[in-house]
């Protein structure tokens, strides 16, 4: 979950990398093993450092700003509860991303199928940059609707790998599956999407 902000922060702090890394490890260890007060302090530090990255990850999956904020809190609550299972040597970000993806998946599964077709869904979408004038707004709308009808597991894989262009390895870690399984999910998602569009008379 490396975003532009954290990358800049990392390069600026390169000369202090070792103390920063050791502080981070100490914080992670306190979060896992400390008493209640020291765990809470470590948790606050982790929350403040990682909240933007976790929120950004969730927003890209659910594409709904209020839900993304709520799911960020839910993710950190799950992280807080599961502190004893955390392995500091494996890093916080991949673990947080996995929990965030699970929370987002639960949310998508709980949505009614018509959510994807509601005006609320489209209201949250950014307007496309460099859009092809040959592709009408109607076709884009029908594509988004068809995509919304896919199973959440397929939709997440395709959203992250195709729309957000995240590396397959990162998507696989977040979903807790293999890279091959990610590729298969993307392939199946696109095949089902094409079939749905063809039934509506759209040939991509």
């Amino acid at each position: 979950m490396v975003d532009r902000g954290t990358s800049t922060m990392r390069s600026a702090a390169s000369s202090e990398m070792e103390p920063v890394a050791s502080r981070e490890l100490e914080r992670l260890t306190r979060f896992r093993q400390g008493d209640d007060a020291s765990r809470d302090a470590a948790f606050e530090g982790l929350f403040r450092i990682h909240q933007r990255a976790v929120h950004g990850w969730i927003l890209r999956i659910v594409r709904n700003a209020p839900a993304a904020e709520d799911l960020t809190l839910e993710t950190f609550w799950r992280i807080y509860r599961a502190h004893a299972r955390f392995e500091p040597e494996r890093g916080f970000e991949p673990w947080a991303r996995r929990i965030a993806t699970r929370a987002a998946l639960d949310w998508l599964r709980a949505q009614k199928p018509e959510y994807a077709m509601s005006s609320e869904f489209f209201a949250d979408l950014p307007s496309p940059s460099g859009e092809d004038p040959a592709v009408s707004a109607e076709i884009r709308r029908k594509t988004a609707q068809a995509f919304g009808r896919l199973r959440p597991g397929l939709r997440i894989a395709a959203t992250l790998a195709v729309i957000e262009e995240r590396p397959h390895k990162e998507v696989a870690e977040a979903l807790g599956i293999s890279v091959t399984a990610v590729k298969l999910r993307v392939f199946r998602a696109l095949r089902l999407l094409r079939k749905d569009l063809q039934q509506q008379g759209i040939t991509p």
Binding site: E69, E164, L190
Partner: protein, 82 residues
Amino acid sequence: MKEQEPRIRDQGSERLELLLRQALPHIEDDADLDRDLWPAMLRRLDERRKVHVPWFDWVLAGGLAALLAVFPAWIPVLLYYL
């Protein structure tokens, strides 16, 4: 420039992916969170901690209540040991 991932593709995949990206454009970095969620997190922690009782505590309490209902004579014994 993002590196292109090797994918399992069939005919027309690229066109479909392009259409999908136009229908659902990727979310820019500047769409990220613009406020600190820590106060909201604190409220949630307080709420959840208040209502969170482990399931085995409920089982113990239920078992004890059932036992005392069946053997009410044990109530003074229990109170003595409390």
